[in-house]
Subunit: 308 residues, 2 copies
């Protein structure tokens, strides 16, 4: 018989993003005692009313347990968020992040985890904000991980020995919407689409094998309809496959490593889609949940001395 986790909460942690946010009530060890989800992401906060919005999230917990330290991550710490929490350079781990927390209110004990920055092959900056906590939550799984967080801006985050050592952003989701709705391809896209596996896989294979030639390969979403190799209802899935396949080709080439374990995190429909795409490219990628995110938040809070 193991001891029951200590039920006394020590920390409120919030993953506060652009469109949604998720709050966690955590004990000292980062066990999630309760959680809360709503759509009050940054774009839904009017006139900078962050504190009022935070109160809505925290009120039931504070009513029951009294005032607790609050640790936030995600776009809430962007230059367009509540307080700009800046970016730590790679390599960085939980302890490194804990040293750079930015204080929103000393009195109310509210803190923000900084984002992480790196430089790409051209010397251009790249950034993550929110995914640093999520990816570190996977860190104990293997010494060498590539955490892939698909989305509007897909992130490939390289974790070695529980540190973030590098990452790359891909504009995949953002570009998918822009190309599907605002280029010549839009006139061929029949919105009455149904999920089409064959079109998706054909797109994945074309994107993966020709990732270095994406500016051209995108045109095949038009010409294949023109030559009746693709139905208008299949354009969306073909294009989705083309861009995800292109991301995988480009990402794997960028990474240049074959011994890393590929792990997918995020919304289940998108990670499922990516898992199938990785499979079509003959790369094994496992979907993992980020339930251990509480341990990362509590670890950072302990290192920073926010909790005992």
């Amino acid at each position: 018989m193991t001891a029951a986790p200590n039920p006394a909460p020590s920390l409120i942690a919030i993953d506060w993003g652009t469109t949604n946010r998720r709050g966690y009530l955590l004990n000292r060890e980062g066990i999630i005692l309760d959680s809360y989800f709503d759509g009050d992401g940054l774009t839904n906060i009017r006139d900078g009313a962050y504190e009022a919005s935070l109160k809505i999230l925290a009120a039931p917990w504070v009513a029951q347990w009294g005032s607790l330290p609050i640790l936030m991550s995600g776009m809430i710490g962007a230059s367009t968020g509540w307080v700009d929490a800046g970016y730590c350079p790679v390599p960085v781990n939980s302890e490194g992040l804990s040293k750079e927390l930015v204080c929103v209110s000393e009195e109310k004990n509210i803190w923000i985890v900084p984002g992480v920055r790196t430089l790409d092959n051209s010397g251009n900056p790249d950034v993550i904000r929110g995914e640093e906590v999520q990816s570190l939550a996977i860190g104990g799984y293997s010494d060498q991980l590539m955490v892939v967080a698909p989305g509007t801006h897909s992130k490939w985050i390289h974790i070695q020995d529980k540190s973030i050592t590098g990452f790359t952003t891909f504009l995949t989701g953002d570009l998918f919407d822009a190309v599907l709705n605002h280029t010549i391809i839009s006139v061929l896209n029949d919105q009455a689409r149904v999920m089409n596996d064959d079109a998706f896989y054909r797109g994945v294979r074309a994107g993966f094998s020709e990732y270095q030639n994406l500016l051209h390969t995108l045109f095949s979403a038009r010409t294949n309809v023109l030559f009746k190799n693709l139905l208008p209802t299949e354009v969306s899935d073909y294009l989705s496959g083309l861009l995800i396949g292109g991301e995988i080709g480009s990402g794997r080439s960028e990474v240049g490593m074959t011994d890393a374990v590929f792990v997918l995190i995020g919304a289940s429909d998108l990670t499922e889609r990516y898992k199938r795409a990785f499979g079509a490219c003959e790369i094994t990628a496992e979907i993992m949940n980020t339930n251990t995110v509480g341990k990362v938040y509590s670890g950072i809070a302990r290192s920073a001395g926010l909790i005992g």
Copy 2:
């Protein structure tokens, strides 16, 4: 003293595109005796009123010279145009095109030049329509040419011994508009831009050296503003450079040839921009006009027996 060209017109040729069209009054040898330009491209023709629109173009010439054969090329022969003129496979030259002319009206002697089709490395179809005549107009200049026609859908057309042997379409211009106006990059783009050479060249170099990683490199148009390496007024030129540099990198790699002469054709502002981009990539590309396009039209018309 050379003989004056025969002033008797033999043919009306029309390059009829999506947004504009240009008509030529040609003698038997393809000398341009007169020309006409207007904005009655396909998107401006209502209810399929092609014949009425053609009459406007041809009326002054017909009034003066009587009825003449009419030979058209461009999107007028697309599946969405007047009559679908189909596509010839590569390799093809003027004579090959002349064998596949599609008749709009035997009585009125109206014909359309087919487009050209090829297959890319993934086995996906690629097409040109209109550029086949324009690029063949350059054909006498060298035995081995890469004709680059920048635009919404940039075309790289390989000409060997006056035949089109292959080509590649790049979605460069289309993607530029979509990314600039419909992705995260739009919020950082200050429309009050002025032409910025430095930003353009930085974009070109990044796009050229990382063309195989475009899905990621696009994100640098955002992060460079975030880190104040780029002004919001410079985003447009940086992105333009990034995509054109990416096209040149991808195109040159696709081509895999170093001994071809690179020639730019098309609107002067865009070809100038491409010439500067090629220069920044240390590739010499000359701008050439397509004034000899008349000789291609008359050559096709003679081969097809439309004119004596």
